[in-house]
């Protein structure tokens, strides 16, 4: 059912889904949609420590959902949507497989019935 066309190495979707399964990490991703942020910035809205936020960011980095600047002092995190899109495409493909196929079958049955009645 993997109909999505991936020309590069397939991302490890297990890591992507594991990373997305945590509400804090999803909130971090949500925050990053408005722009890059340092660990300090990201820790502020959460009732957790900076080291805990750092751990979450590392999980997101390993899943390829977030990249960080190595050179700059504050090492801000920013969103990398490539793997997220792969994960979403995968899910959409699986869930769409039968509903799209059924739509095709609807049309096809129309044709078959028309032919049936044509031939008597």
């Amino acid at each position: 059912m993997e109909l999505t066309d991936y020309t590069t190495t397939p991302p490890d979707l297990n890591a992507v889904f594991a990373a997305l399964a945590d509400p804090t990490r999803r909130a971090i991703l949500s925050r990053l949609t408005i722009g890059e942020a340092s660990v300090n910035d990201l820790a502020a809205p959460f009732a957790i420590s900076q080291p805990a936020v750092s751990k979450h960011i590392k999980v997101l980095e390993r899943a390829g959902l977030v990249t960080r600047d190595i050179d700059r002092q504050r090492r801000p995190a920013r969103l990398d949507a490539t793997n997220m899109e792969a994960a979403l495409n995968w899910l959409a493909d699986f869930r769409a497989f039968w509903s799209k196929s059924f739509d095709q079958l609807d049309d096809f049955l129309d044709d078959l019935q028309t032919k049936d009645s044509d031939h008597g």
């Binding site: 059912m1 993997e2 109909l3 066309d5 991936y6 397939p10 991302p11 979707l13 297990n14 889904f17 997305l20 399964a21 509400p23 999803r26 991703l29 949500s30 949609t33 969103l79 949507a81 997220m84 899109e85 792969a86 979403l88 995968w90 899910l91 699986f94 869930r95 769409a96 497989f97 039968w98 509903s99 799209k100 196929s101 059924f102 095709q104 079958l105 609807d106 049309d107 096809f108 049955l109 129309d110 078959l112 019935q113 049936d116």
Partner: protein
Amino acid sequence: MANAAEYSIDHTFNARRDLVWRAWTDPVLLARWYGPGVETTIHRFDLKVGGAWHNEMKWGDKSDYSTMTFQEVLEPEKLVWHHCSTDSDWKVVSNPMMPDWPRTLLTTVTFGAAGNQTNVRLTQLPVDASDAEIACFTNMMAGMSKGWGSGFVIIGDILQELTA
């Protein structure tokens, strides 16, 4: 727990049951609609318990191969098969994109007659799956509409912003 890992879809077709059954069990007809927007070739179709359906879905220059092995064939009301991803030699392989995707999915299709309409219900459930496979499938299927829902809404927003 078993039910949490079940995917199901219901659909009512505007055709008599015998015709819907034909569309599912005549490989020439089946290839016409099976697979969303792809070119489907059925290389083998042996409609009996233990018989195999070798399916290739082509899109662009890529192909997706799978083998279905029939477990139950009860004309015209029920079809049951094991669905496995395979290589081009029809050997069962794990999914390259998701190593923990279940190797075998028990697929059950029931056809209920309702006058000139037919109610079809299709369910898929992992077979002899490891805990990791069940967790993977459960997260994907059941979890999405529950705990996952809010997360996926956020992701959708994120992607929209990024592609805007």
